[in-house]
């Protein structure tokens, strides 16, 4: 297993706290950080023909936006702390995608922030953290 920590961010307060935790963890163990943003997306949705025709263009835009507004600022912060960082922006169902990436990159740990979704929404859709904890092959740290 590589000494890599997968840090999943989404620009929320929770993910800022997760970033702080990951920095501490990386400094402590000399770990590299795989900074990841998963754009929520499903291959099984229903779209209009127009949406499909423009999908490729939109995908590029979504990746560019996530990179510039969330991932790059976080990466800057990590680099500023002297931590080695690699960035990834991918589409997919969040928990599933994080697990796939964790396996592909052979990471030691996944760090995410808690979104704190309450009540009904998490009851119906489940929370990313919850799903991740249930199915992850590596330890998951959920930062409150």
């Amino acid at each position: 297993m590589s000494n890599t920590v997968l840090l999943a961010v989404d620009g929320s307060d929770g993910s800022h706290r997760a970033t702080a935790h990951a920095i501490a963890r990386a400094k402590l163990g000399g770990a590299k950080i795989l900074l990841t943003y998963v754009i929520e997306w499903s291959a099984y949705s229903f779209n209009t023909p127009e949406e499909n025709a423009e999908r490729h263009k939109r995908r590029e835009q979504e990746i560019a936006k996530a990179t510039s507004s969330v991932v790059e600022p976080a990466a800057e912060r990590l680099r500023g702390e002297g931590v080695e960082v690699e960035t990834l922006v991918v589409h997919g169902p969040p928990a599933e995608t994080l697990i796939r990436l964790a396996k592909e990159h052979d990471v030691a740990q996944i760090v995410i922030g808690r979104r704190g979704e309450s009540g009904i929404k998490s009851l119906i859709f489940g929370s990313v953290a919850g799903n991740l904890i249930q199915t992850s092959p590596v330890p998951v740290v959920v930062v409150p």
Binding site: A43, N52, A53, R55
Partner: protein, 500 residues
């Protein structure tokens, strides 16, 4: 620009009551037009006492040819198609692009329309129970035609500078023939097709849909909407206007999400009705088979039943018309033939599953009570069959019909628009002209009776299959080469399933 359109629309709405008596007038105008177009496109040859429209023969021969030429891909490729849709062969690194499932779902929501509910009833009324058999046969053969046209759609699509894609028969006819050294002919065929789909979209994908939605609403309202076609038409046109011109995507998005559930809801209840009529099932099935080969009580006997069955099948699943290949072209794949496989499922879902169970709902009801629907035909007949078991069913069926009609109209507005942009360019202003015309026809659809509308839209849609299928014959060797290359890659393990 927007202000001009807005004031035109307001003017149209304010003067709407003046349109109250317009239904009959429009009917009188469209009837001779329908008769003329119909007589040209459906030029009939007498055959064993029945009349066979040449275009139907054209489509059937095409479908049989592609089935044989591609080595029964419609049956062979079915399993692989399911795996592709399930995402077994989708590279996770290209997630976020249009998936096979999404391309299929979009194309299906364009084809699952009123034809599945009302068209089947028309087929059974005119062609007897036996028409159902030929409807299914046509569906199975149509799978091969779809395979060819959707593979070509992806292979020859145009990737626009802004990253969006445009595809469909006009592009594969144009580029495909150019590759074969017949650039001029290809361009001509592309234009022929584009003109056809622009106009055809106003019929099958527009007027027919809004007309049947109105009829169904009126039935549910107990005739309270008699002579109010113009009003329903205006409202429907207004909603379509809001989506395709106003860019109110939320309406389209909601519809796209509700329609699949409605389709499932419809199928589940159809199966329940069939089961409730269980004593009639053996007789209904036997009627389908005997009717198919004897054609009892049908003009032209078995051949008559066959013609009607094939005609309705094509009208419903659109195989050979090429429209679906416009929707399928958006998929992200490095192997165009994979989308061909996926598109096989479209006639399967549309014709073999949904149309067949509708036919059984009607068939079993007929066995139990031959006059269950009175004089009703189209959607009203199907509705009556459901009503025998569930008195409340016509209301949700009307809602389903309305939504099917709506999603089909949205899809076809796009198909027609793609024909239009092929002819006149992707410029936003020229696109606007077509969109406005499209909305006007939505309103018109509710003002004319079923007869002339069905005739005009049938005729136009059958007309565009002439250049399309002709092109498919020429380009089929290219598809076959792609298919064999792909199969070889699958066999050698070069293309692997991502499913562990």
């Amino acid at each position: 620009m927007n202000r001009i359109i807005l004031s035109l629309v307001t003017l149209f709405c304010l003067s709407a009551p003046a349109f109250a008596g317009i239904d009959d007038r429009i009917n009188n105008i469209t009837k001779p037009i329908a008769a003329f177009i119909g007589s040209v496109v459906f030029f009939k040859i007498p055959l064993f006492g029945a009349e066979l429209p040449l275009v139907v023969l054209w489509l059937v021969i095409g479908a049989v040819f592609f089935t044989v030429y591609m080595g029964f891909i419609n049956l062979r490729g079915f399993g692989h198609a399911i795996k592709l849709v399930r995402g077994d062969y989708s590279d996770p690194n290209s997630s976020g692009e249009v998936s096979h499932f999404q391309a299929l779902a979009t194309a299906v929501s364009g084809t699952v329309g009123i034809g599945n509910i009302g068209g089947v009833a028309v087929a059974v009324t005119v062609g007897g129970a036996g028409a159902t058999f030929w409807l299914i046969v046509a569906g199975i053969l149509g799978m091969s035609t779809k395979f060819v046209e959707c593979t070509l759609g992806v292979k020859y699509r145009l990737e626009n500078e802004d990253g969006s894609v445009s595809g469909g028969p006009m592009y594969y006819l144009d580029k495909g023939f150019t590759e074969l050294g017949m650039a001029g002919f290809g361009r001509f065929m592309g234009i022929f097709y584009a003109v056809g789909i622009c106009i055809g979209a106003l019929g099958i994908g527009n007027m027919f849909q809004s007309n049947q939605a109105y009829v169904q609403l009126n039935t549910v309202a107990g005739g309270a909407l008699d002579g109010m076609g113009w009003l329903v038409g205006l409202i429907l046109a207004g909603v379509v206007f809001a989506v395709i011109i106003g860019g109110i995507k939320s309406i389209a998005r909601v519809t796209e999400k509700v329609v699949p559930f409605m389709a499932v809801f419809y199928c589940v209840f159809a199966i329940i009705v069939i089961l409730m009529n269980f004593t009639a099932i053996p007789q209904a099935i036997s009627n389908i088979f005997t009717g198919a080969f004897t054609g009892e009580g049908v003009a032209g006997g078995a051949i008559g039943a066959l013609i009607i069955g094939f005609q309705r099948a094509v009208f419903s699943n659109e195989a050979g018309i090429g429209s679906a290949s416009i929707a399928h072209s958006a998929v992200k794949t490095s192997e165009p033939v994979t989308e061909g496989y996926v598109s096989l499922l479209e006639p399967f879902i549309d014709t073999i599953v949904i149309c067949t169970i509708t036919a059984l709902v009607i068939g079993t009801s007929q066995v139990m009570d031959p006059n269950f629907a009175g004089d009703a035909t189209g959607v009203a007949m199907t509705s009556a069959a459901f009503e025998r078991q569930f008195s409340w069913f016509p209301t949700p069926l009307a809602v389903a019909a309305l939504l099917f009609a709506f999603s089909t109209m949205i899809s076809w507005s796009y198909y027609g628009l793609k024909g239009w942009t092929y002819l006149f360019g992707e410029d936003a202003k020229t696109q606007m002209i077509y969109k406005v015309i499209f909305c006007v026809f939505v309103a018109l659809g509710c003002m004319v009776q079923l007869g002339p509308i069905l005739d005009i839209s049938d005729a136009l849609v059958f007309l565009i299959c002439v250049p399309n299928i002709l092109g498919l014959y020429f380009l089929a060797p290219i598809v076959k080469k792609e298919m064999l290359k792909y199969q070889a890659k699958l066999d050698s393990g070069e293309i692997k399933s991502f499913r562990n």
